[in-house]
């Protein structure tokens, strides 16, 4: 089957969306603070209400040409446009983060002194990545693609990996200094950690490999003990934590949804 190339995103629609969004944002900024808060709360409530109702309302057969067995409710056809709308809002929040970063680093750069070099690096990185990123998308020639690869794969990806790998050094240092068996609980924790770590690696598994799997003591294989620790005691504890987190998350979500949350979220 021949593969159809897409002409590209509809620039006109993107620009129209951008202008409309800017106008909406401008109007929102002109609205007095007390009304603005209400608008934000109403938008949050309606957005959350849509997602909840679409999920919880009873469903019925709603066949489509692609899926004759599809089921849903009257809100279901809007799930895809709603998802696109949320993506657009998400894009704006990223923009908000960029503006915030520019403000913080801009002020630091104007002041000069310690840390201003980091701000220069921030601005240079951001501008280069943005320009090359757009260029390689708009004109995907080898030069732009290579430049993008140098920045993204050679720069960002490598820096990310380096930063994360540094953690290993801190873990070794911290484990050596802090992991002291000063109590029964600490001793239990240490013994468990060593069993799990040894059971996790091939060299550790060699320690008990001499025990025949057919013998009565086969359950003393270190990987089997590790497996038991992870599937029985660990599962019980993580399940309890997950329940606690779930209830806590639900409470926070309800507070945000119903506009009960205070602080920067609504009072800005």
């Amino acid at each position: 089957m021949p593969v159809k190339a897409v002409v590209g995103p509809n620039i006109g629609m993107i620009l129209l969306g951008l202008v409309l969004s800017l106008v909406a944002l401008g109007i929102l900024m002109l609205v007095p603070q007390r009304f603005r808060r209400g608008i934000v709360r109403a938008a949050t409530l309606i957005g959350g209400l849509y997602a909840a109702l679409e999920f919880f309302l009873p469903t019925q057969p709603m066949p489509t040409p692609d899926d004759p067995k599809a089921i849903g409710n009257f809100l279901s056809p809007s799930v895809v446009p709603f998802g696109n709308y949320v993506n657009a809002v998400f894009g704006w929040t990223v923009g908000l983060g960029v503006i915030n970063l520019c403000q913080v680093h801009g002020k630091r750069l104007m002041k000069g002194g310690a840390g201003s070099f980091n701000s220069v690096v921030f601005f240079l990185s951001m501008i280069m990545m943005t320009v090359i990123g757009i260029l390689q998308k708009a004109h995907p020639n080898p030069l732009n693609k290579n430049l993008y690869d140098v920045l993204f794969v050679g720069g960002l990806v490598s820096l990310d990996a380096t930063m994360f790998s540094i953690v290993a050094f801190y873990i070794v240092s911290a484990a050596y200094r802090a992991f002291r068996i000063r109590s029964v609980e600490a001793t239990l924790l240490l013994a468990t950690a060593i069993i799990v770590m040894l059971g996790q690696i091939a060299i550790g598994q060699l320690l008990t490999r001499w025990i025949p799997m057919t013998s009565a003591f086969h359950s003393l294989h270190i990987e089997l003990i590790r497996s038991w620790i992870l599937t029985i005691p660990n599962s019980a504890v993580t399940r309890a934590i997950a329940f606690g987190l779930g209830i806590g998350g639900l409470a926070v979500a309800l507070r945000i949804w119903l506009g009960l949350e205070r602080g920067s979220y609504f009072d800005a």
């Binding site: 089957m1 021949p2 593969v3 159809k4 190339a5 897409v6 997602a51 692609d66 899926d67 067995k69 599809a70 849903g72 279901s76 799930v79 895809v80 709603f82 998802g83 696109n84 949320v86 993506n87 998400f90 894009g91 993204f152 960002l156 990806v157 490598s158 990310d160 990996a161 930063m163 994360f164 290993a168 050094f169 070794v172 240092s173 484990a175 050596y176 200094r177 992991f179 002291r180 068996i181 240490l190 060593i194 770590m197 040894l198 996790q200 690696i201 091939a202 060299i203 550790g204 598994q205 294989h221 990987e223 497996s227 992870l230 599937t231 660990n234 599962s235 993580t238 399940r239 997950a242």
Partner: protein, 288 residues
């Protein structure tokens, strides 16, 4: 200085150098220590191996370079199996990333494996055997839309080709047409797939978390919401053993083992020295 005190206060730079050597030196030695395959790894292997003919798998490379050591090796092992399954049963897969680096990292792995297997006559083609949908934002709402209309939500792949017209997407319209979800994820965001795709549509799901995140996922394994799991790099090593291949996980496994042993040695050494010193002090106190 007292030797017991010295053992408890080894300079951190010494620890760093030893760790550096423990991680790098084993890469120069090519040997494989056989490992015991854990039940979650075996279960995932069996689930992929028993996929029906011509089915479609949604593969999620949701990681960045920070966890590439583990998640990259897991991705490679799983993609190897999927490409073997293309050869055996024409199983196709699509990669969808919710991390901006994931799409690039997975694309590199997939292209490398495609080249490797095509030398063996597997005839794997991007767009026909597999597709990279690229990076998308807001996983929760995206997945909610995706389950209802896969090509309509994805629209284009990483090369800006219309997803709906790609041969690899033939017969894939909604979540019901997805035979399996495979999520390589170092965070707890895999629960979004469980909540909005695996659960409602009863799609088998496999997970490849980092070793540090694996303990949390055992609950989902226990409940059957996840059919199998690769636990960190070791899971990938086990998987490569099942595939009878010597990939990046096996190459890195010796480093992992030596680094683990070094860490355990340091902890034991520090504790023995502390206990001996305490006992010495107690005796000295008793003598006074």
């Amino acid at each position: 200085m007292n030797i017991l005190r010295l053992l408890q206060q080894v300079d951190r730079r010494v620890l760093y150098v030893m760790l550096l050597l423990a991680v790098t030196l084993p890469f120069f030695v090519k040997f494989r220590v056989p490992v015991a395959v854990s039940p979650p790894t075996q279960a995932l292997y069996d689930a992929i191996d028993s996929l029906p003919e011509n089915s479609f798998v949604l593969f999620g490379p949701n990681y960045s370079a920070g966890t590439r050591g583990e998640n990259g090796a897991q991705s490679e092992a799983l993609l190897r199996h999927l490409m073997i399954m293309w050869h055996k049963k024409k199983v196709r897969f699509g990669m969808l990333a919710f991390d901006p680096q994931g799409k690039t990292l997975a694309q590199t792995i997939a292209l490398g494996l495609q080249e490797e297997y095509n030398k063996q006559g597997y005839n794997i083609k991007e767009g026909e055997s597999w597709v990279n949908f690229g990076y998308r934002v807001d996983q929760q709402n995206f997945v909610r839309a995706l389950v209802k209309d896969v090509p309509g939500t994805l629209l284009v792949d990483v090369h800006d080709r219309s997803v709906a017209t790609l041969p690899v997407m033939q017969g894939v319209h909604t979540a019901k047409d997805v035979a399996m979800i495979l999520d390589v994820n170092p965070t707890a965001a895999y629960t979004i797939y469980i909540q909005f795709m695996q659960g409602p549509f009863k799609i088998p799901m496999g997970l490849a978390p980092t070793a540090v995140m694996a303990p949390e996922a055992f609950n989902y394994l226990d409940s059957g919401q996840i059919v199998g799991m690769l636990q960190g790099l070791q899971g990938a090593v086990e998987y490569e053993q099942l595939l009878n291949t010597f990939g990046r996980a096996t190459r890195a496994s010796n480093s992992l083992g030596v680094a683990h042993l070094l860490l355990i040695s340091f902890i034991i050494m520090g504790n023995i020295a502390m206990l001996l010193e305490r006992s010495k002090q107690r005796k000295a106190g008793g003598a006074e």
